[in-house]
Amino acid sequence: MGKDVWVVAEHFQGRLNDITLELVAKGRELAQATEAKLAVVLLGSKVKGLASELAADVVYLADRPEFREFTPEAYMVALETALKGAQPRIVLIGSTSVGLDLLSLLSARTGCACIDSCTRLELRDGRLLATSQIYGGKLFADVAVPDATTLIAVVPGSFPKPESAAAGRPEVQEIPLPATLPELRIKFRKLIEPPAGDVDITKVAVLVAVGRGIQNADNLSLAEELAEVLGGAVCASRPVIDQGWLPLTRQVGKSGMTVKPKLYLAFGVSGAPEHWEGMKNSELIVAVNTDPRAPIFGGAHYGAVADALELIPVLTEAARKASLKKAS
């Protein structure tokens, strides 16, 4: 078995997805640690240019019209072909809509073992150990990566994205696919865009939540500015909705929506059980309330006893500055 680390790239509308960059960075780290090569499998149509953005040693490329959009079968055929003969140590895939399909199909077809929902991957005493989250994050499992080619699906955001765009001069090799692919049973028809109109807060990664502490509708604009800077949306607990300051579609809680964003910033929200139920699984909960005994502080990850109306504009400025700094 070889030592190489492979990454299966994902891209959308001409840009590499964050997960790919995260996996490439991690793959680079692992490859260096084991003195192996890092290879990226890049499938698509007219995507050759993306190769230079990959800090890999090799890019296995299949650039054909059939691969313009992802379809499980076509991509699986390409990957199967690429893997034939090669025996990488691990193949890193995103635990995504694309990745999960590929992980399972490939594992069955090639007989390679696979591990899903990986959030950590490390070398310990020369052995590779993957940590996966299960039961909705209530438990973690350390899994020994078997001594044969193993496919590993990684949860996006588990590994850091490299700060700067990678400089890459990978060697590009064409995957030896036949000129005409066998009859494919899955065909791409069209892409469906999300409906225009009010935001679906269950699909937004950052939510700025406002509660009674926001005091009146005019102060909403403060929250909206903050949400914009953070790339998120404003949502609210019931009293705010009841006052009619925001539409029902923005309500979080037992009688509203259940959300699981990456960041839930709660301002002036007391954290009553009915509200908590709708957002308790948010990955990061930061609460701001003037009442130090507000129930939300019991469950939030971070908190501050402060006046939301004072804090929000300050926070917005600080976040804006930090974003600019990041971009530069």
Partner: protein
């Protein structure tokens, strides 16, 4: 002197009268028979038991007009009109008989020394009553009271009957003054007034005849018209009262056995008594005015429900009577989704105010629950209710929390309550899920535990074996779930050892008391905790350390008050605590529901945000002069009102407190106190 003795043209008067009389009676009878046949479409129901009690109901509610006097402004006029009707029934029967058999000497009212004055006075009383009720109906226009041609016509007919009688009486006295000994003040007054005119004086006999005929013809017209108008409540309501439910209101009728499908939707699936509601309903709107959901702008209306059942019955019942036509027409159109929208059914809180205020003792709730049962059976249940029902089925509580956590609330106590599964106890405390799981209520639950311990009450709980008793699941229409819960709970209770049961939750109290037959044959008296506390205070087992200086108002929970008549016990407790109790305008049986019953607490809010029942109620409480606290005795009330105080912004003005907290404060029981252990 008898008007029909004379000839009208070539024909003798009595012949014409006979013709009209037979026609009217024929139409009346035919229609009444038709209505009875429609009723018989409904499924059978045994309501012929306990006849003495039923007669008593009729005496109280029909002759005593008890419910009508809830609203005295219109109640008194109605009593007058009702008794006027009975009086005139007597008078007119006499007149008709005389008219039909002019040759026979039949004692009538007109000349009778004792009866004539009564009729005379009642004619004016009825007119007075009509004036008030018409003013109310046409000018004030209270909600729920319909302005229809039917109502207008009926009012006109009654008025004209009174007027024609009085006019006939007046002209008779003018024409035959020989009866001057008769004391009929109004008739005589009219007679005097008529006498002033020569012309009227001269034509008095003819005018008497004319008005006599008018009166009799109007009566016969009214007779024939009666069973076609809403006034058929006249005929139907004595029966609706006679056949009313004598069971405790807290015992919901079980579904009819041997039915394939739960609930009712098609006419033949309702019981005949439910169908009778349609005819007995006078469309007075009292139920609607009492309904908290309706008052909040939600689509729920008990009056509309009964009305739509009537429409359905009258429109499609006839086809069902002729089955062949029904089959050919594709059968009866669906009631739910047709005349009745599901939203109307789901917004009911089962508070029983409609049933409590209905003068003809209709059972709107049983109709509503039967319709809900059918919706549940079809799986057409709102998403959040579904979730609650699934949780009840799987975890025995609607919160979706593990049954193992049922007794987590005890962890804040410095003692461990007895386990009634393992050792015998005097009192079994059936807590109910809200007291156990809801974070806002757990401290109050602990308070009560400490109070009881301080009073040395020997109580125990069921720990993890306690499950939701199914009261609200049943009222949400999930009868199967109710039966499942009841089975499990009955098995648990039969294994536990206790003498009495009490509960902190009126919903639990209601169903254990009324719907768990195996528990209930006298062996296990079931109480509400306020009754227990009242008793302990009275007997001095709980001593008030210091009287509380608060001014409070008290909300009667629906399932404690209207359903089970427990009004005094909580008030006794409050009195013993020394607080000053000021009642809200709508208290006791008029108490206004918090909006959480009937499974509503599990459902989507449908009504407008600013007028939920709970908000309406807290505003009423805050308006009570000087009240600083709204005292409740039901956990759902607590949660609903605490929430409403926030959304109405009344949080600073008034605070909601469970009776337990006040008792705990007054008897000075705190967390740190551990009473002396009783010598074993």
């Amino acid at each position: 002197m008898i008007p029909t003795a004379a000839k009208l043209g070539p024909v003798p008067g009595w012949a014409i009268l006979w013709l009209v009389f037979l026609t009217a009676v024929g139409l009346f009878a035919w229609r009444v028979v038709f209505l009875i046949r429609l009723l018989r479409l409904g499924r059978p129901e045994k309501r012929w038991d306990r006849i003495p009690d039923r007669i008593k109901q009729v005496l109280i509610y029909v002759f005593g007009q008890r419910r009508l006097l809830d609203e005295p402004l219109v109640g008194i006029p109605h009593v007058l009109i009702f008794y006027g009707f009975l009086v005139f029934l007597m008078a007119t029967t006499g007149m008709l008989l005389q008219g039909l058999f002019p040759g026979v000497r039949i004692p009538g009212v007109e000349g009778n020394r004792y009866l004539a004055p009564v009729v005379d006075i009642f004619a004016v009383l009825v007119l007075g009553g009509l004036a008030v009720s018409s003013f109310r109906r046409f000018v004030i226009r209270p909600a729920g009271l319909q302005l229809t041609w039917d109502a207008t016509l009926v009012n006109l007919l009654i008025a004209s009957l009174m007027v024609t009688y009085l006019a006939a009486e007046g002209f008779r006295l003018v024409a035959w003054p020989g009866e001057s000994a008769l004391w009929v003040p109004f008739g005589r007054g009219l007679a005097d007034w008529f006498s002033r005119s020569e012309a009227l004086h001269a034509s008095a006999p003819a005018l008497y005849q004319g008005f006599w005929w008018a009166h009799v013809l109007i009566v016969l017209f009214f007779l024939a018209y009666l069973p076609y108008s809403k006034h058929m409540h006249l005929l139907a309501s004595p029966f609706s009262v006679f056949f009313s439910r004598l069971d405790a209101p807290g015992r919901l009728p079980a579904p009819a056995p041997q039915t394939e499908r739960m609930g009712a939707e098609r006419l033949e699936e309702f019981s005949w008594r439910q169908l009778l509601s349609a005819f007995a309903c006078a469309e007075c709107g009292r139920c609607e005015r009492a309904c908290p959901s309706h008052q909040s702008g939600e689509p729920c209306s008990p009056r509309e429900l009964v009305h739509n059942l009537k429409v359905q019955l009258l429109q499609f019942g006839p086809a069902l009577l002729e089955k062949a036509r029904a089959a050919a027409d594709g059968g009866e159109p669906a009631l739910i989704g047709g005349l009745i929208a599901p939203a109307e059914l789901w917004t009911c809180t089962t508070c029983l105010s409609c049933v409590e205020h209905c003068p003809v003792l209709n059972e709107h709730m049983s109709i509503m629950v039967d319709l809900r049962r059918r919706l549940v059976e079809r799986g057409e249940v709102d998403a959040r209710l579904e979730e609650a029902l699934r949780n009840l089925q799987r975890y025995g509580n609607s919160f979706g929390q593990s049954e193992r956590k049922r007794a987590v609330w005890t962890q804040g106590l410095d003692f461990k309550p007895k386990d009634a599964r393992k050792e015998p106890v005097e009192w079994l405390w059936y807590l109910g899920e809200y007291a156990c799981y809801h974070p806002a209520l757990q401290e109050t639950t602990r308070s009560l535990a400490r109070v009881l311990r301080a009073a040395e009450v020997d109580f125990g709980i069921l720990y993890e074996a306690e499950r939701n008793t199914g009261n609200d699941a049943r009222r949400a229409g999930e009868e199967g779930l109710f039966e499942l819960l009841r089975e499990k709970n009955t098995a648990t209770l039969q294994k536990a050892r206790f003498n009495n049961i009490f509960s902190t939750d009126p919903h639990v109290y209601n169903t254990l008391k009324n719907e768990y037959p195996e528990l209930n044959h006298g062996r296990h008296p079931i109480h509400h905790y306020t009754e227990l506390l009242a008793d302990l205070l009275e007997r001095g087992r709980l001593k008030v350390g210091h009287k509380l200086p608060y001014r409070v108002t008290y909300h009667d929970p629906c399932y404690l008050g209207r359903y089970n008549g427990v009004y005094e016990a909580p008030r006794k407790v409050l009195k013993a605590l020394g607080v000053e109790l000021k009642e809200m305008p709508r208290s006791r049986r008029d108490s206004f529901c918090c909006g959480g019953g009937g499974g509503r607490v599990w459902m989507e809010e449908i009504g407008e945000a600013h007028s939920r029942p709970s908000e309406n109620r807290v505003r009423e409480a805050a308006a009570v002069d000087g009240a600083e606290m709204l005292v409740v005795a039901c956990p759902k009330d607590y949660v609903m009102f605490a929430d409403a105080l926030k959304t109405t912004g009344l949080e600073g003005r008034i605070v909601v407190k469970d009776l337990t907290d006040l008792v705990a404060e007054a008897v000075r029981v705190k967390a740190a106190e551990v009473p002396q252990e009783k010598a074993a």
